[in-house]
C-alpha cells in the first residue's frame, strides 16, 4: 500500500477541518472528499484557493529573491517537497525557507530591494532564521536561514558544506536545494523540533515522498553523521508504517511512534510535552541531559529581547490554555 492510499484511508475517517489543518493535510482531504462524493466544507474550499495562489506565487517570489541576491540560494522544504506530491497545490505553503551563506547580509539586501518585515510570528525569534520578510504583494513570506532547522542538540553539516553539496531545485531558475537524503533528514529533524515523537501526518508524508527510492542503510548512515540516528529510526519506522511496510521488530517504533490512527488535533499541553520528550531521542544517553536543557529551555526562556515581565504572563496564558486545541489563536508560550 502506498503512502497516498494510507493517507486516503485516514482522510476518509476524518471529520474535523481544524484537525486536518493541524496535521497539514486539509488540501489532501478536500481532494479526497470531492473525489469520493463527500461534501467539501467552505473552509477547505477557501484553503484550496489560498493554496493555488501560493503555488502560483512561488516561482515569482523566488525569481525576485534570485534577482536581488548574489551567491547560492538553497531552497529548504516547502515547494521542493510539494513538487513530489501528486499536485504541488496539495501541500500547504506559507513561506519560502532559504539557506544562504550570510543570512543577516542577505536580509539587508532584500530589505533594500523592497522586502518588508513580515508581521506577527513572535516565536520566529527562536528560529534558526532571520525575522521573516515579505514582498508587499506576495502571499508568501521569506525566511533566511543561516543553519539547517533541526534540533539544537544534533550536528547537521555546517552551512558551507550544505551549500557546496546542493543540487538544482525543482523550481526556480538558479535556485538550489538539498540532495534528497539530506532533505529527508532535514524534514525529519525539523518536524522533531516542533512535534517530537508525534509528528504531524504531513511531516510523515513529506519524509515518505522525499525518501522514495532511497537506500534505507544510506539514510541510517547519514543520520548518524548528523547525530540523529534515533530520531531517524523512529521517523523512518513511522513512515514505513504509513506505507504499510513496517518492520515489526523495530522496537523504538513500536513503543513510541505510532502511525496516525485518527487525525486528531493535539492540545497545547500535548504539543509542549511531545516537543520536550523529543530531547530523549538524542544520539546517546550522555547527550540527553544537554538535549533536554536545550529543548525545554528554548520554551521556558524569554524570546531574544523580551523581558520576563512579558514572558511570564505568556507562560501563564499557555498554562491556562493547556487543554485547548493547539491551533487556537491567542495562546502563546
Amino acid at each position: 500500500m502506498s503512502v497516498w492510499a494510507t493517507v486516503d484511508h485516514l482522510l476518509d475517517r476524518a471529520e474535523d477541518p481544524a484537525a486536518l489543518r493541524a496535521h497539514g493535510v486539509q488540501l489532501l482531504a478536500a481532494r479526497r472528499w470531492r473525489a469520493t462524493g463527500r461534501p467539501v466544507p467552505a473552509a477547505l474550499l477557501a484553503d484550496e484557493r489560498s493554496a493555488a495562489i501560493a503555488t502560483l506565487a512561488v516561482p515569482v517570489l523566488l525569481a525576485r529573491v534570485r534577482a536581488a541576491l548574489n551567491g547560492p540560494i538553497v531552497l529548504l522544504k516547502g515547494p521542493e517537497v510539494a513538487a513530489r506530491y501528486p499536485d504541488p497545490a496539495l501541500r500547504p505553503l506559507g513561506d519560502l525557507d532559504l539557506l544562504v551563506p550570510d543570512a543577516p547580509a542577505a536580509e539587508r539586501v532584500l530589505r533594500a530591494a523592497g522586502f518588508e518585515p513580515a508581521e506577527g510570528e513572535q516565536t520566529a525569534a527562536r528560529q534558526p532564521h532571520q525575522p521573516p520578510l515579505r514582498w508587499p504583494t506576495s502571499p508568501l513570506r521569506v525566511e533566511l536561514h543561516h543553519t539547517l532547522p533541526v534540533p539544537a542538540w544534533c550536528r547537521p553539516p555546517p552551512a558551507d558544506q550544505v551549500l557546496a553539496a546542493a543540487v538544482p531545485a525543482a523550481i526556480g531558475d538558479g535556485i538550489l536545494t538539498l540532495p534528497p537524503a539530506a532533505h529527508a533528514l532535514l524534514l525529519a529533524g525539523h518536524a522533531w523540533v516542533h512535534y517530537g515523537p508525534r509528528p504531524r501526518l504531513r511531516d510523515l508524508v513529506d519524509v515518505a515522498v522525499m525518501t522514495d527510492g532511497l537506500d534505507p542503510a544510506e539514510m541510517a548512515d547519514l543520520a548518524r553523521t548528523w547525530d540523529l540516528p534515533r530520531v531517524w529510526q523512529a521517523t523512518a519506522g513511522a513512515v514505513a508504517a504509513l506505507c504499510c511496510s513496517l518492520d515489526p521488530s523495530s522496537t523504538p517504533w513500536r513503543r513510541w511512534v505510532t502511525p496516525v490512527p485518527v487525525i486528531r488535533e493535539r492540545t497545547v499541553a500535548q504539543e509542549h510535552l511531545m516537543r520536550w520528550l523529543g530531547a530523549f531521542w538524542a544520539p546517546s544517553p550522555r547527550a540527553v541531559p544537554r538535549a533536554v536543557v536545550l529543548t525545554v529551555g528554548r520554551d521556558l526562556r524569554p524570546l531574544p529581547g523580551e523581558a520576563w515581565s512579558t514572558k511570564l504572563p505568556r507562560m501563564g496564558q499557555t498554562v491556562r490554555s493547556a487543554l485547548a486545541p493547539g491551533s487556537r489563536p491567542n495562546r502563546s508560550g
Binding site: 467539501v40 495562489i53 503555488t55 502560483l56 515569482v60 514582498w135 506576495s138
Partner: protein, 88 residues
C-alpha cells in the same frame, strides 16, 4: 475574433474556479465557474462563439443571454490584462 493569454499570466484550476496571477503586476484574480469556462475556452484559442455556447449549455440560458454575459466577462478579462484580444 480570437484571444490569447499573455505570457506573464499564470493560472491554476481550483475545482470549478480559476486562480490567475499577473506576474508582471503581482496581482491575483479569482474567476468563478462562469468566468473560468469563458477564460479556458478563449485561452485555448477557440472563438468567442464557443465560449457563449459553453455558458448557454452549462447554465441553461438563451444564446442571446449567454452572448451578453460572455461579452461582459471578456471585456473585463481584456481590460485587466488577463487576455489579449488578437484581432477585430
Amino acid at each position: 475574433m480570437s484571444y490569447s493569454v499573455p505570457e506573464h499570466i499564470h493560472f491554476r484550476e481550483v475545482h470549478d474556479e480559476l486562480m490567475l496571477l499577473d506576474a508582471q503586476n503581482d496581482a491575483y484574480f479569482a474567476l468563478n465557474a462562469t468566468g473560468a469556462v469563458v477564460w479556458s475556452v478563449l485561452a485555448s484559442g477557440r472563438p468567442l462563439e464557443d465560449a457563449a455556447a459553453g455558458v448557454a449549455a452549462r447554465y441553461a440560458v438563451t444564446p442571446e443571454r449567454a452572448e451578453a454575459d460572455v461579452a461582459a466577462v471578456v471585456d473585463e478579462l481584456v481590460g485587466r490584462g488577463l487576455l489579449n484580444r488578437l484581432d477585430r
